[in-house]
């Protein structure tokens, strides 16, 4: 799969033809070039619709005997914990049986599985990961050109709930509520892509030039700094540049987005550990996110429904999800832990809500979901013993027609990085392999490619 490579010159031409000429006396063109000088695919305004990538996370896995489908291929049957996804069955692919080989390292509860799945290597803590998480890699490839490089969301109200890291010490903090999401995306900086008039606001020019002034400090500071600090300063200046680019975008009329319908602000809503409250906040955020995507505000997103050591609870019960997975007896008649089963099933309901929210937006010939690829996963399969074999994963969306949905693929113990590799390639990141040591894989899951 190739995407359109544009030279600087013909991009400029397209820029003029595609929208009103903008004369602000600043060299805008470099705002749309990444560091290698190759232009970002300007794939809207008459061209193919942009592809979006996202992750969706829930904690404490499943009860595998009740989640892993028994049949493979399209039309796979839905076991009890997957029953909630029935309304979106054909839109979701299930990837079971992909595992994390530990290479003799300890299995850190609620850490090893997740770090391996997202970064391609097992780490002892998130602060010790050796590579950025795959959503950051994808954002690097396709994220620029939209106002937000990514939108990181947490339904639990805590900005520290995030599994998106650029590096070990750089976690991308989450937007922790629907209200904040609304304000961030549809607040004062929002440019309606379908507005008839566009007048570039000189304040963005000024803000941008102020930041360029900050960037100009770079050399002086770097000279003084030691090696370790240079890396940190590098990161800081890269971040400044990222914001400069964002502000530059504001100076150009955004291409129209027919699917964009500006929502009204949500009223103040609750966040909490009660599973019903969590689901309700999550649904609100999913709907806002869908609108944000339809309005081309970002191409990459992350949603955490519950943290790895799931904090979900039911009011009046002393024991929540996480504790139940460890302490609850297996019911002799049922053959599984009823409370743990309950929470996993409710988590799947939330996943169904998320998929439905994306599928509800009509876009182009199909839906927003058709132009997305979402990777849903947990940190473990059977949480009782933090099992990192057969970590449950799902894909939703067809990535603009590149991906097949509604099938079940069994990994048979293959490393989870096969799936990571698959999504990276699907999103146009030029990689042939991904991951390190036993997690290194060069074999994507070809069954999901069209």
């Amino acid at each position: 799969m190739k995407y359109l490579q544009m030279t600087r010159r013909n991009f400029a031409l397209r820029g003029m033809l595609g929208g009103a000429a903008v004369t602000v006396g600043l060299p805008l063109l470099d705002a749309f070039l990444n560091d290698n000088g190759t232009a970002i695919a300007a794939s809207y305004g008459g061209g193919p619709l942009p592809l979006r990538f996202g992750t969706w996370f829930w904690g404490c896995g499943t009860i595998p005997s009740r989640w892993d489908p028994k049949t493979v291929g399209p039309g796979y049957e839905l076991p009890p914990q997957l029953a909630p996804i029935a309304p979106v069955h054909s839109l979701v692919s299930v990837l079971s049986g992909f595992s994390v080989p530990l290479d003799g390292k300890g299995n850190l509860p609620h850490i090893s599985g997740n770090t391996a799945l997202r970064t391609g290597a097992v780490a002892d803590s998130w602060q010790q990961i050796t590579a950025p998480t795959l959503d950051v890699v994808v954002a690097g490839a396709v994220g620029a050109g939209a106002y937000f490089r990514s939108l990181d969301l947490a339904a639990d109200g805590d900005p520290r709930t995030s599994y998106s890291f650029s590096s070990a010490s750089a976690m991308n903090a989450s937007i922790p509520s629907a209200l904040e999401l609304y304000r961030k995306v549809f607040g004062p900086d929002f440019q309606d892509p379908n507005a008839a008039e566009f007048k570039p606001d000189p304040r963005y020019m000024v803000r941008r030039s102020v930041l360029s002034g900050v960037s100009a400090e770079r050399r002086k500071l770097m000279q003084q700094a030691g090696a370790a600090d240079r890396a940190r300063l590098d990161q800081y200046f890269d971040s400044v540049r990222a914001v400069e680019q964002k502000l530059a975008l504001q100076l150009q009329k955004p291409p129209p987005a027919e699917a964009c319908a500006i929502p009204s602000a949500p009223s103040r809503s609750e966040t909490g550990t009660d599973v019903d409250v969590r689901k309700s906040q999550h649904k609100l955020m999913a709907q806002l996110l869908s609108t944000a995507l339809a309005c081309n505000q970002t191409r990459v997103f992350n949603m955490v429904f519950s943290v790895a050591a799931s904090d979900l609870r039911r009011a009046g019960h002393t024991t929540g999800h996480h504790q139940s997975t460890h302490e609850e007896l297996i019911d002799p008649t049922l053959g599984y832990q009823p409370t743990a089963d309950y929470f996993s099933t409710r988590s799947m309901e939330a996943w169904a809500d998320f998929v439905a929210a994306l599928a509800a937006v009509r876009e182009g010939d199909g839906t927003l979901l058709d132009h997305c690829l979402v990777l849903a996963h947990s940190d473990v399969s059977y949480a009782k013993n933090h099992d990192v074999n057969g970590i449950p994963m799902m894909l939703a969306g067809r990535a603009g027609g590149r991906i097949r949905s509604g099938i079940h693929v069994r990994g048979s113990g293959d490393p989870v990085t096969r799936v990571g590799l698959t999504v990276l390639q699907a999103m146009g990141v030029a990689v042939e392999s991904w991951g390190s040591q036993s997690l290194r894989s060069a074999r994507p899951v070809s069954e999901v490619f069209v």
Binding site: N107, S166, S169, S209, V210, R232, L233, Y236, V243, G320
Partner: protein, 538 residues
């Protein structure tokens, strides 16, 4: 050579010995590279207040601070700023700047405007930006730096058609500059090699003692070179410790050390603990900080008393959790009578509620917190494949007390290795439920609060408090934490000789926090710096 005493009294000998003990040479630590420490959210807000006063609101979401080796202060030496974080800073900066130049504030905060003698406002801009820049950057602006800022302001005022808007833009630039967002050490060549310049020393000192940027007298002292002499430095240290602002500095340390920011995400089950409302966690945090300020600063008590003190700050919101009459509205000190179950930090809601589950206690979490936070000991992570069959006693599913429930932690050899470090400590606190409320019994059964900690036995929270006070690990953990908080050093450096010295002095001075802070603030090691290591960039 033999010393010939002319003083015949034994007291002279005693004086001699005491003086010598007190005058041990401070062991040198290997100098660390110059610091680059990101401001925490609290420090950012304090800076805005220091420079512009409390009427300027800081609204927005900050990049979360990172806890490294148990301290956010150490994390400041590790983190940088992500693009998402930078977006936030840029937005907050713009908002602050707008408020500063607002018609309500500009007279007070800027104090000049374009006039006939200064039609573009260049002089006014220069005057304002120089003053504010020095305060924000915590060092004087270079002339080129100032010139650039002024030009930014004037250019922007042309583009925006408004002088004040232009000035706000330049101010916004200051607030997004690395010199503001990070505490950057500046190294000069001194007689003994690389040394910190006066301003950098002032910054280290001011953030240690006040958690704030240097105030005017300190800036003046820095400018004059006073901080390079012992007398000059000591004079500033004395002044700052005597100031009411020292309380803020001690509070900031304990807020970090005790990991009280965890209370921001504590929730309790509303049915099980209805008295723990939405404001309870924040009040509990404030309670502990006020109690510490009263005990360890105002009354200058022995640090170890923190684990036994029956005197604590309280307000009416917290009254129901403690089940005592609270006479006044607002914050007040409350003294529990001798023999009351409430005694010491470990019986405060901030500790009990933070290290429990939303609907019940957790002796393991509480014990782990005591070990890791108060004793600087590391508890290994639990194994992934714990055999829970043991914990689930199928013959008696109705275990009445928590001790009974977690019995298997201690009787099974697989689990006991780690759990014997945590559970006996946490079980001493079982008279306090998951919200920190006292309970005489649990499900009708008697609560047994006996335990041991390193061969010392105790019963209950008060007993545990006494035992903790006597354990040398507690004092030395505090000392090393204050040092690492002050220096921001990541834990890979061997500073044991210096820490040992600080331990001894801490003990000799009655385990008093202000004295410990003074000792560090006047130590050589606090201000040493190595020349930065350069590498060729390819």
């Amino acid at each position: 050579m033999m010393m010939q005493f002319k003083l015949s009294t034994a007291s002279a000998l005693l004086l001699l010995l005491t003086a010598m003990a007190g005058c041990h040479r401070e062991p040198a630590t290997a100098a660390a590279p110059p610091g680059l420490r990101r401001l925490t959210e609290a420090q950012y807000r304090q800076s805005i207040e220091d420079v512009f006063g409390s009427s300027i609101r800081v609204v927005g979401r900050f990049e979360p601070d990172l806890r490294v080796d148990g301290l956010l202060a150490v994390g400041t030496s590790v983190v940088s700023i992500t693009p998402g974080g930078m977006e936030q800073y840029e937005a907050i900066a713009g908002d602050v700047a707008r408020q500063v130049v607002d018609s309500e504030n500009r007279d007070r905060l800027i104090g000049c405007a374009p006039a006939a003698s200064d039609p573009q406002g260049r002089q006014c801009a220069a005057h304002f930006l120089r003053r504010v820049g020095e305060h924000l950057f915590r060092r004087p602006l270079g002339s080129e730096e100032l010139e650039q800022a002024v030009n930014t302001a004037l250019r922007a005022s042309v583009q925006l058609g408004d002088f004040h808007a232009g000035l706000a833009s330049a101010l916004s630039g200051f607030l997004t500059a690395p010199d503001f967002l990070f505490r950057i050490d500046h190294v000069t060549a001194g007689p003994a090699g690389a040394q910190l310049d006066g301003w950098s020393k002032a910054v280290r000192l001011s953030y240690l003692l006040w958690n704030a940027s240097p105030d005017e007298p300190l800036r003046t002292a820095a400018q004059r070179g006073d901080l390079d002499s012992t007398a000059g430095l000591t004079s500033q240290v004395d002044r700052m410790i005597a100031s009411p602002r020292f309380v803020a500095g001690v509070r900031a340390f304990f807020d970090d050390f005790l990991q009280l920011d965890g209370l921001e995400t504590v929730t309790k089950d509303a049915q099980i603990y209805p008295a723990f409302g939405s404001g309870s966690a924040a009040d509990a945090r404030e309670q502990t900080l006020r109690t510490i300020a009263d005990l360890l600063v105002v009354r200058n008590a022995d640090y170890r008393e923190l684990f036994e003190t029956r005197r604590l700050a309280i307000n009416r919101n917290l009254g129901p959790l403690y089940d005592v009459p609270v006479p006044g509205k607002g914050w007040q000190m409350y003294e529990f009578p001798a023999g009351d179950p409430r005694a010491g930090l470990l019986t405060q809601v901030s500790f009990l509620a933070a290290h429990s589950h939303p609907g019940r206690t957790s002796p393991t979490l509480r014990g782990k917190a005591v070990r890791e936070i108060l004793m600087c000991q590391k508890i290994p992570t639990p194994p992934a494949n714990v055999n829970f069959r043991i914990v689930q006693d199928v013959t008696n599913p109705h275990l009445k007390t928590t001790r009974a429930r977690v019995e298997a932690h201690l009787s099974d050899p697989e689990c006991a290795g780690c759990h014997r470090l945590t559970d006996p400590v946490g079980l001493a606190l079982e008279h306090f439920d998951g919200a920190g409320q006292f309970r005489a019994n649990e499900n009708g059964a008697v609560i047994d609060t006996h335990g041991t900690l390193a061969d010392a036995s105790f019963d209950g929270a008060a007993g545990l408090g006494t035992v903790l006070g006597k354990d040398p690990a507690v004092a030395s953990c505090l000392v090393q934490s204050v040092w690492r908080y002050a220096s921001g050093h990541v834990g890979d450096r061997d500073e044991s000789a210096f820490l040992h010295y600080l331990d001894e002095r801490f003990a000799a001075n009655g385990y008093r926090i202000p004295e410990l802070m003074r000792l560090i603030a006047t130590s050589r090691n606090f201000y040493t710096v190595a020349a930065p290591i350069k590498e060729n960039r390819s």
